[in-house]
Amino acid sequence: MSIRIRIIDLRRTFIARVYSRDTDRRLRQVWFAIHRRERDWAVVFCNALDLLMETSKVDRQRISFADGAGQIAWQRTAFWTIILLDMSAFSEKKRHLLAAALLKSARYSD
């Protein structure tokens, strides 16, 4: 097997961060996702949180983690989704890293 290079990643979900507010204690972000097929966001984010060693709890279109100090909620249609991320736990550095890892999972997981 040799290395393969592609210019366009067709499996990637387009997601833009449309709002971000960061204070000493809290990080809030809103993402806008466009997708060609419906995505099971509960599976995407639960898998990501599991890899991040965070225990998560799903309640319909909302996931809580970090003993409730972290929340991911979404409003979904067939082709686009608005995702809200809210974290009031951890260090500022860790909040940023978790947000980046969750965004990466949303973009690239199948």
């Binding site: 097997m1 990637r12 890892a101 990466k104 973009r107």
Partner: protein, 141 residues
């Protein structure tokens, strides 16, 4: 082969630090640019990887060559630029000294693109530093 090394003291037991490496998919969470890990073998000793650098997707294959819990985890990228990645965890009281060593081949064709081996070494050193820093951040409160 050139190599880069990076280390940090992590406020977590070695067993917990080692858990970061044994699940290949977890690397996506802390390796910059790594977007996917696919086709993981049932024994988790081999997998395919995809890097995404500014929209350019580079994929290849890796194999684990050593998994000695909780001390040493090593894997090799077998396609493209061959490299050997070695994570070591040394207990230090309640903490763990985590080190990452990456040995890599430098193909001359690529070297021309990066202008000098020094620039490539600096890029790899920065990446190793980011990886170790990310693992530390994820494992600490």
């Amino acid at each position: 082969m050139p190599k880069v090394t990076e280390s940090a003291l992590v406020a977590a037991p070695a067993e917990k630090v080692f858990q970061m490496f044994v699940e290949p998919q977890r690397a996506v969470m802390f390796v910059p640019g790594l977007s996917r890990i696919n086709n993981i073998s049932p024994d988790k000793r081999s997998w395919d990887y995809e890097f995404n650098w500014l929209g350019l997707v580079i994929s290849g294959h890796s194999e684990c060559t050593a998994s000695e819990a909780p001390k040493k985890y090593q894997f090799k990228t077998l396609t493209g630029n061959k490299s050997t990645w070695t994570y070591r965890c040394e207990p230090d009281g309640a903490n763990t000294k985590l080190s990452l060593e990456v040995e890599y081949e430098v193909p001359q064709q690529q070297l021309a693109r990066f202008a000098s081996e020094t620039v490539l070494q600096k890029m790899n050193q920065n990446t190793a530093r980011e990886i170790v820093s990310h693992i530390k951040t994820l494992l600490e409160p």
